[in-house]
Amino acid sequence: MDEQYSCVIIGAGPAGLSVAIAITKNSKKKVLVLDREKHPGGILNQCIHTGFGLTQYKEELTGPEYAWRVYSEAKELGIEIRLSTSVIRVSEDKVITTISAEKGIEKIKAQAIVFCTGCRERARGVIHIPGDRPAGVYTAGLAQKFINIDGYLPGKRVVILGSGDIGLIMARRLTFQGAKVLAVLEASSFVGGLSRNVVQCLDDFGIPLYLSHTIIDIVGKNRVEKVKIARVDENMRAIRGTEFEINCDTVLLSIGLIPENELAEMAQVKLDPATNGAIVDENYMTNISGIFSCGNALHVHDLVDKLAVEAQTVGKKVAEYISGGVFAESDIIVTHDDFIRYLLPKKISGKSDVRFHFRVRRPLSDVVLKLNNFERKFPYLQPNEMSSVLIPAKHFEDIEEGIQREIKIWIREN
């Protein structure tokens, strides 16, 4: 074994850096943050729009500014951050294999590991858009990188498929850079991204948004020439007679993000099919003792401020773990009804208060979330905004002792 650390954090995005800071503030142990990129900050480096840190710093920062603050704090605390180093393997017994040009292959043994590996975008193949396969079809994040990091415009007449936040933000960015955004199409009947982004990125620029519409054909031999569009029914099938065409040279896809957990899976971490992130308990620990998960690798966050809060909690728990603390066993399974698309943590001990994070499947208004005799009213819940609720420990108390202890969280419409 080349080296040993109390905790190794994989990923130096906002999640990884914030967790490292929280661990360091709560213990005196040796932590190491690894990232394959040359610069810390993760996805924030390409988000040059403002809107980061509103609650945390009470300021509207750009992505890189926010990243710089977190990175500076980590540096001041003397946290070791190793860049240009990719993790290629993680074993169940917490041995990490890395590769870098400088050091070749190295192995690091960790007492605890936190996966902060972020997420990737869903690509064209995943949803099978029929038609040609010319140049000019990019994920929105790739286009964002072309423009904001590399300084090139990927197209002049653009149609955006999917109304996720990156797509919305890119509609505005492309417009600023002199491209014409002809339409944003969304197959479902509601917007995927934050409402504030619809207003600030589409409405303010007169970019048309078509809900319940999708691309049924991409045409173009070498470069995209046009797309055929149709309205879709609830089952996402194109409705005949509603087809129309738009001439364009570029199609951007903003059809969702998927947590990156291939490494976690190598370490036998179990994933939740609803999030593609790890299944965690109230300590954000996975099924493998000492392996934790945080940030977009756990579930997709729309606001970095919420992520920062999560990272605080995770950091404290990891500090406790590496300082020899023993967690109460999380043997109560948390289930939920069908209004909720996902909810975490999925396992709790019942001995302490728990903050649950969840997303609903469709927009709901005037509802009550219930667990036993706990009730919390929500004037509305949106699938595009992560919601959370703190449930005090006393509401878990009267759970029957049994072989399989289970509680169910459900939502009632008024």
């Binding site: 396969r133 415009l153 002199g178 070498n222």
Partner: protein, 507 residues
Amino acid sequence: MVSSKSNSNNNYDVIVIGGGIVGASIIRELSRYDLKICLIEKEAELSFGVSKSNSGIVHAGFHSPPNTLKGPLCARGNFLYDQLHLELGVPFKRVGELVIIKQSEEIPDLEKFKRWGEECGVPGMKILNESEVHQYEPSLSTDVIGALYAPTAGVVNPYEFVFLLAQNAKKNGAEIKTSEEVISIGDRVAKTTEVITTKDRYNTKYIINAAGLYGDRIANMVGIYNFKIIPRKGEEYLLDKKLKGLVKQVIFPLPSKTSKGTLVIPTLDGTIMVGPSAEDIDDKNDLTTTDEVCWQIFDKAKQMIPAIHHKYLISTFAGNRPVPVKLIKNAKGKYVKDPDGDDDFIIAKTDDVPGFINVAGIQSPGLTAAPAIAEKVISILKDDGVVLKANKYFVSTNPNPKKIREMSDDELDKLIKSEPDYGKIVCRCEMVSEGEIMNAIENGAQTLDGVKFRTRAGMGRCQGGFCSFKTMELLAKGLDISPLEITKRGEGSNILVEDLKKQKEKI
């Protein structure tokens, strides 16, 4: 640009038109001899015709009867793969194939294929009963009652095969020209023929027509009209690596007249692929995929392997088989479909057009047969009186390609310490390093897809979402061009449209 005078550098013994698997196999076989040879390909990259878009199966060789060209050439081609694997590093693995049946009435069909195979020289085939077939392939649908098993079938990376053949031929003195299209062929004067391209003019003693879907067009240039090529489209659907190991063998249904059916294929890269469809179309350039076919293919695949599901889909593509239709002149002097014509390969010289050899209509199993087709072309040249003196400098092997994802930790560590570029990961999904990409560019990659098909960079789960620009930067550096000039797969498919840094300067 067509230059008016041709110089002696432009005189060849043999020109091969078309840089697919067939052309590449032929040029490499020719490079064993002391001949001045060149291959001309119209696309920016070799293999970007039919040869990169197929199922990648090295068939055993029982699908066609022994009295065809296809049958024996397929079996012989299959046999030759082992040596190519050893010499050139062609990624290839014998996985075996199973033709499954669900009704006992179909057993005679299996027996027929087994007989054809044996007559073509296919070794080791056997007919499996119900319990055996489920032992061989546990994920098969429970209603499968038997299968024909052929152990010699394999899977190959077809495009890598083409690149490696060309790389070897080039090392042995062959010239490889890309982005250059043959537009006409002149008269034969003093035993040489003029070949005119979009870039230059050449004189050659022999022309080999290996132009795939455009074999008829090239033949027409020299006045041969007795066949045409129609495109038969096949769509393929590639699934996520999560399904790795789902099937061990290539799984076939009972074939129909026009196609071997929809297959479940364990590709060499560890993914599962389902396809192809078979549909005659009009436009040779039509490589679209459609929703209907997508559903049909998944339906058919599920009937064989129930665990297959479209939620695992990561990528889709289509290829057109060059299907030959033989023509004859009718009473009015017009060429019409020959009622007695078959759809077998056309591999022959034409007596009234000296110095011209057709290798046309190479549809499936063309990938498998290609090495044997190359042997056959050599024997046609020999029979025509060409003196084949050995090339004294011929080296049969390629340098070991450094693929870091296939190395052990120790090997890789050593490599990085001597060549640090192999420690810089560019494509994280498929683990491809900067060193490998630079290597691909040195070996002729000109486009983003050219790098992708040589190294797998951008072929994984994120489909290039993260590494595209880094690869483009390396291409720009290696080819000494601007990122704006970089294309996906050749002229007109540029990735970027404007340099924003220049825009700022303007303001």
